[in-house]
């Protein structure tokens, strides 16, 4: 675009310069032409003036009546003009007859020549005054014609010999050789299309040189009118005049005091010869320059285009690469989540056998209790109605009371306590004189009747005491077994809940308030079977309230720490789990009394894929994932370990997460 501007500028400048040069060339030519016209006019003037002088002398002589034939010759000589220029000076009578000339003073040779038809003769004789075609004091410059006497081309300069008294004494005629003038004209080289001409006011050409050659021409009258219109004392330039045989640059100069003009005309072509050359050269140069510029610009553009293309390509590549990276990042993140989940599942898998057994145990109890209920119910249905029927009222009442007492919810006793109780009861019964005190005490304890056994003395002393107590026991069995089933079911429920809690993945990743103890207990439940095998668990839970967290991810943290602790202790030792407030947040510590962690391993322990376990056992990602989860929670983890004493991992979490 800059290129177009500069090219336009260059061409514009060149055009302007060329136009200016054109103008100045024309102007120069015009100037030259007018100068030439002036010069020739000056020359012509001198000639005319000389000739005119001679005619005036003749007139004066005639006026004085002193004219002799010899005078004509003398006057001719004294003009200073050679006979090549002024061949003839003649005296013509009023009737138009040649009287005398310098060539033929007595008019003998030429005889009587009738010149009356000649225009100039007629002009003079017409006597029209004033006559605009006459020069000063009446000199008439006639048209170029062939002289009757000389037989050569001449310009007839004639003067009417008008006496002061008004009488006409004829004319004096000077014949001027136009060739002399034309020879002068030929000296100048104005090109083949040029014209140098002496033109009378009447528009007739007296002398002319065309293209360096003397040739008689005629100017179109319209042209001459136009030239006249433009011509004053100051010459002017006319170019491209209509209907002119030769268009070009005209200059015309009036010959002072005479009705005749010096006309110089050159063709425009002539004026512009050098201009054409200059034009061609400059156009060529400019074209060359433009081509160079264009090529340069083309090259530059191409370079720019290439650059742009490669830029665009780069951008595309970058965009592509970014897209790939973005999707790779997304994949990695997803993979990380998957990894955490799969670590969890691996843990779960490892514990599955343990957890299955955890569930199996209560289920075994349920099964047994269920069968016991069936059996007892069978027996009761068989015995109960007939037994009750056979009892007397008092016994029946006591029996009823016994049954009621058996159904009371009792705080569960440990077997040690039960044993104690039985012993006391047994003693009491023995002291009361009850037979088979121990057996009956057992039965009463089984019915959870621990106090005031003698309330039921009636039964205890009854002959069919065992039968009654037996039946009552059956009923008590049903009650106990049902309760046992409930307890066992609660146990299973707890484990199932722990499993659900443990394997739950929070896809939404929304932080929520949660009690950390719940999570810890869930993990301990899952690991209960492993713990049972020889680990003593001590808990220290301070009431620290809720923490804003991702519960399922923190469960992964507890799992990892507890798992590691149990493994370190080989499932035999003491595991201490604590929750307490610290530094404005909550600290959770998991401590074992295993062998401890050596110094050189302590630094590496959080590295991904670092593990001290043999191949296939543990991916080594555990603590790395723990670290990442804690980073997410803006928490931290500390390790304290002493060889031979134990290891404690302490996790610190802020109560609330910072506003994101």
């Amino acid at each position: 675009m800059l290129l177009c501007l500069s090219l336009a500028l260059v061409w514009g400048a060149m055009t302007y310069i060329l136009l200016a040069k054109y103008q100045s060339a024309i102007e120069a030519q015009r100037s030259q032409n007018s100068n030439l016209a002036k010069t020739f006019a000056e020359q012509t003037l001198r000639v005319f003036k000389s000739v005119d002088q001679a005619t005036l002398r003749v007139r004066d002589a005639v006026a004085n009546q002193t004219l002799t034939n010899a005078d004509l010759i003398r006057f001719t000589h004294e003009t200073g003009l050679t006979e090549a220029i002024l061949p003839q000076l003649s005296y013509v009578g009023g009737d138009g007859r040649l009287i005398s000339s310098n060539l033929d003073p007595h008019a003998k040779n030429t005889g009587y020549v009738d010149l009356s038809e000649r225009v100039h003769i007629q002009t003079h004789l017409s006597g029209a005054q004033p006559n605009p075609t006459l020069g000063p004091q009446g000199l008439y410059i006639g048209q170029t014609l062939v002289g009757k006497v000389s037989g050569a081309r001449t310009i007839q300069l004639s003067r009417h010999l008008l006496m002061p008294d008004g009488s006409s004494k004829g004319m004096v005629v000077a014949s001027l050789n136009p060739s002399y003038l034309e020879d002068n004209f030929k000296e100048v080289d104005l090109g083949s299309q040029s014209l140098i001409a002496l033109v009378g006011q009447d528009g007739f050409v007296r002398a002319s040189v065309q293209g360096g050659q003397a040739s008689p021409i005629q100017l179109a009258s319209t042209l001459w009118q136009q030239l006249l219109a433009h011509t004053t004392d100051n010459p002017s330039v006319i170019s491209k005049v209509e209907e002119d045989p030769v268009s070009g640059i005209w200059a015309a100069q009036a010959v002072k005091d005479y009705p005749i003009y010096m006309v110089v005309q050159t063709s425009v072509q002539q004026a512009l010869v050098s201009w054409f050359a200059a034009r061609d050269v400059s156009v060529a140069l400019t074209i060359l320059f433009s081509l160079t510029m264009l090529l340069g610009a083309a090259g530059y553009l191409r370079g720019t285009l290439k650059l742009e293309l490669s830029n665009r390509e780069l951008e595309n590549n970058v965009r592509e690469r970014t897209q790939l990276l973005t999707s790779a990042l997304a994949d990695l993140k997803a993979t990380q989540s998957q990894l955490i989940q799969s670590e969890k599942m691996v843990t779960l898998g490892q514990l599955l056998a343990n957890v299955a057994h955890e569930i199996n145990t209560p289920i075994g109890a349920i099964k047994s209790s269920g069968e016991s209920i069936s059996d007892a119910l069978e027996k009761v249905l068989a015995n109960f109605p007939s037994l009750v029927m056979s009892l007397d009222k008092t016994t029946r009442q006591s029996f009823a009371a016994l049954l009621v007492a058996a159904q009371q919810p009792v705080f569960p006793l440990s077997s040690r306590e039960e044993r104690q109780n039985t012993r006391v009861l047994s003693l009491e019964l023995t002291n009361a004189g009850v037979a088979d005190a121990q057996t009956k005490a057992d039965l009463l304890t089984a019915m959870r009747i621990t106090q005031e056994p003698m309330r039921y003395a009636v039964i205890l002393h009854h002959a069919r005491a065992k039968e009654i107590l037996g039946t009552a026991n059956q009923i008590a069995t049903i009650i106990n077994s049902a309760e046992n089933i409930n307890t066992a079911v609660d146990q299973v429920g707890k484990i199932v809940f722990a499993l659900k809690s443990f394997s739950h993945t929070d896809h939404k990743q929304e932080f929520q308030k949660a009690n950390l103890v719940n999570g810890l207990e869930t993990v301990l439940t899952i690991y209960n079977n492993a713990i049972k095998q020889g680990v003593e668990v001590t808990r220290f839970y301070q009431n620290v309230g809720s923490v804003e967290c991702l519960e399922s991810e923190l469960n992964q943290v507890w799992t990892n720490l507890i798992h590691n602790a149990l493994q370190a202790m080989r499932n035999s030792g003491t595991l201490k789990v604590s929750v307490f407030a610290q530094d404005g947040g909550v600290a959770v510590s998991v401590a074992d009394n295993g062998p401890g962690i050596p110094e050189d391993i302590k630094v590496k322990i959080f590295e991904p894929f670092f593990t001290t376990k043999p191949i296939g056992e543990g991916s080594g990602l555990g603590l790395d994932i723990v670290k990442k989860i804690l980073d997410k929670h803006h928490g931290r983890i500390d390790l304290h370990s002493e060889m031979g004493v134990g290891t404690t991992f302490t996790v610190w979490l802020p109560l609330q997460q910072p506003e994101s």
Partner: protein
């Protein structure tokens, strides 16, 4: 002779179920004692011993905190070699079982969850066995004294 059957399991529900079952199904004269751990079991045995009683049979779980089942039975065998030892468990490792068989003369091994009928049969058979043993011993003793008597008469 009162036959005392000891049940040892850390799970209260299992213990309850066992006790209920055995109390209702064992023949007259049998008593059921329960313990929730190995040490407690040993305590019970010692208390009984002090009363001049000896448990006939012990049914113990394998996986228990503090003291594992195999350890308990081995110890009991050391002190009461004639006690019938039954192991009741859902998960036991081979080494543990082999130990009890070899070092504690294990009588039976019962899987959890157990069928009531199986348990009852095992216990009754064991008691019968013991009874038979006792009876035989008594018989032998009686016969021996009779022989002596007879020999003395000749």
């Amino acid at each position: 002779m009162s036959h005392i059957v000891l049940c040892v399991d850390d799970d209260k529900t299992v213990l309850n179920a066992l006790r209920t079952l055995l109390t209702n199904t064992l023949p007259e004269g049998c008593r059921v004692e329960v313990a929730e751990s190995g040490p407690e079991c040993i305590e019970v045995c010692q208390a009984l011993e002090a009363e001049g009683l000896m448990p006939l049979m012990v049914i113990s779980d394998f996986i228990m905190p503090q003291m594992r089942g195999d350890e308990l039975l081995v110890r009991l065998h050391a002190r009461y070699p004639s006690m019938i030892k039954v192991m009741l468990t859902g998960q036991a490792d081979f080494a543990g079982v082999r130990r009890v068989i070899n070092e504690a003369s294990l009588y039976r091994f019962i899987d959890k969850p157990f069928k009531n009928a199986d348990m009852v049969l095992t216990v009754k058979t064991a008691i019968e066995f013991k009874q038979t043993e006792c009876d035989l011993r008594d018989e032998i003793t009686h016969l021996k004294s009779r022989i002596t008597e007879l020999e003395g008469q000749t």
